[in-house]
């Protein structure tokens, strides 16, 4: 069990800056995020897209913003629990007992939900009946490529994941790459590579096709694919891999007894607390009159939520407002040594 002052859910820019604000006032935070990397939407959806509305940063990218924030919170030596999703929270005396999908348990008086639009999950096949083959014949990620050795594999998608895996798996399996249009959106070199491999007879490409049906009892034996004109083709296959990117789902948050309004959590703007004491919501996931879904708003929200966390984490201490420019104790926390 990990005891901490604040559990932050979400490692996007707003969660990261909340860690900074907590660190400044001497509170320790642990961060959980369902993605395999830090940065949230910034890193997953638009790492290279320029952002122009971060105060005092005329231009940055999702990636550079994330890196800067990580630099800013470095003094606080925060633990990140990536690839992990908070499943359950239970009130235990003055603490929240928080359990993740990996059965890790945290005990903290405060939870800050900086969950954006929810946790990222793979987009799945919409086909009826596809679900029952999931993790048996249908996969949305690959853990061990050797499981696919000498098998027949149909890969769906046109992005980097689909192309990279088509190239990689074509070395050890019989691969058919299926995509809804003739152009691939992955990097050009990968697109060229799969076309080259097709010419060499090392993999098959089927475009513009989408999945139409799945056949098989316990495991998939074959699928059919269909193009816009209605033409159907059958492919004998052992495994189906879908790489359609990620989608955001609110997930278990809906079961925590929080008030919800159109997939957002209403908060009061004094301290960004939800309807539950010790649970705060900041960033895109919170709503209040006048809410703007901007990163800069999330920074402000985190600053206020952090101060409110202090009350529950240090009930016997008085919170003192201090500036980083002048406060010795704040500068100590930042690891700054005056010469």
């Amino acid at each position: 069990m990990i005891k901490t002052d604040v559990l932050v859910i979400g490692a996007g820019p707003v969660g990261l800056f909340a860690v900074h604000q907590l660190g400044l006032i001497g509170l320790k935070a642990e961060v959980v995020d369902n993605l395999d990397k830090i940065g949230g939407q910034c890193i997953e959806l638009y790492p290279d897209k320029p952002i122009y509305d971060i105060p005092a940063l005329p231009e940055c990218t999702g990636e550079s913003l994330t890196n800067n924030l990580l630099e800013q919170i470095k003094p606080f030596k925060t633990n990140f629990h990536l690839n992990e999703r908070v499943e359950q929270i239970i009130k235990e005396n003055n603490n929240w007992k928080i359990t993740t999908n990996k059965k890790k348990i945290f005990l903290a008086p405060n939870i800050i939900i900086a969950g954006g639009v929810g946790s990222f999950e793979p987009r799945k096949f919409s086909l009826e009946g596809a679900e029952k083959f999931e993790n048996k014949s249908i996969f949305y990620s690959i853990k061990d490529k050797n499981n696919f050795k000498n098998k027949k594999i149909s890969i769906f998608g046109g992005g980097d994941s689909a192309l990279d895996w088509a190239i990689e798996l074509s070395k050890l399996a019989e691969v058919t790459l299926v995509h809804r249009r003739n152009e691939f959106r992955g990097v050009e070199s990968s697109g060229n590579k799969v076309k080259e491999l097709e010419k060499e007879g090392k993999l098959k490409i089927k475009t513009p096709f989408q999945i139409n049906s799945i056949e098989g009892k316990e495991n998939i034996t074959s699928i059919t694919i269909k193009d816009e004109s209605g033409k159907i083709e059958k492919i004998s296959t052992d495994y189906v891999l879908g790489f359609f990117g990620l989608i955001m789902k609110l997930g278990p948050i809906v079961e925590w007894g929080l008030n919800l309004e159109k997939k957002t959590i209403p908060v009061n703007t004094e301290n960004f607390q939800t309807n539950k004491e010790g649970i705060f919501a900041i960033g895109d996931i919170c709503s209040y009159p006048g809410k703007l879904k901007l990163i800069l708003s999330g920074f402000h929200e985190g600053a206020l939520a952090a101060r409110a966390c202090f009350k529950l984490a240090r009930p016997n201490e008085k919170y003192r407002f201090e500036f980083t420019t002048t406060s010795k104790s704040v500068q100590d926390r930042l690891g700054i040594t005056k010469k």
């Binding site: 939407q41 897209k49 987009r123 152009e183 959106r185 989408q210 989608i247 955001m248």
Partner: protein
């Protein structure tokens, strides 16, 4: 104001007057039309404001950019006449536009 008709997957139709300059997505979200999620808020980064057009309207609209086409790969059941409604800006020319929503956005 241009009138836009949003038809839910179940056939329920919403005729909405949308101010010029807004996106078709914003027209739906601001008027509580269900069926368009717009998780990313309109930055062409999530494919959850996906709509279907008819051929006439599809050809009449300014063509989609590569980023939208790329994003449509990730949409739920994309078709030939699919668009992302955040990338369609409402103008007078769009008066009478009809968009249909897929059964879900993701």
């Amino acid at each position: 104001m241009p009138k836009i008709t949003y038809i839910e997957h179940n056939g329920k139709s919403h005729e909405i007057e949308v101010s010029k300059g807004l996106s078709v997505m914003e027209g739906a979200v601001q008027n509580n039309v269900p069926g368009i999620d717009a998780d990313c808020g309109g930055s062409c980064a999530c494919a959850t404001c996906h709509v279907y057009l008819d051929e006439n309207w599809y050809n009449k609209l300014p063509q989609k950019e590569a980023a939208e086409e790329d994003m449509l790969d990730m949409a739920f059941e994309p078709k030939k006449l699919s668009r992302l409604s955040c990338q369609i800006t409402v103008t007078d020319d769009l008066d009478g536009l009809v968009v249909k929503m897929p059964s879900k956005q993701g």
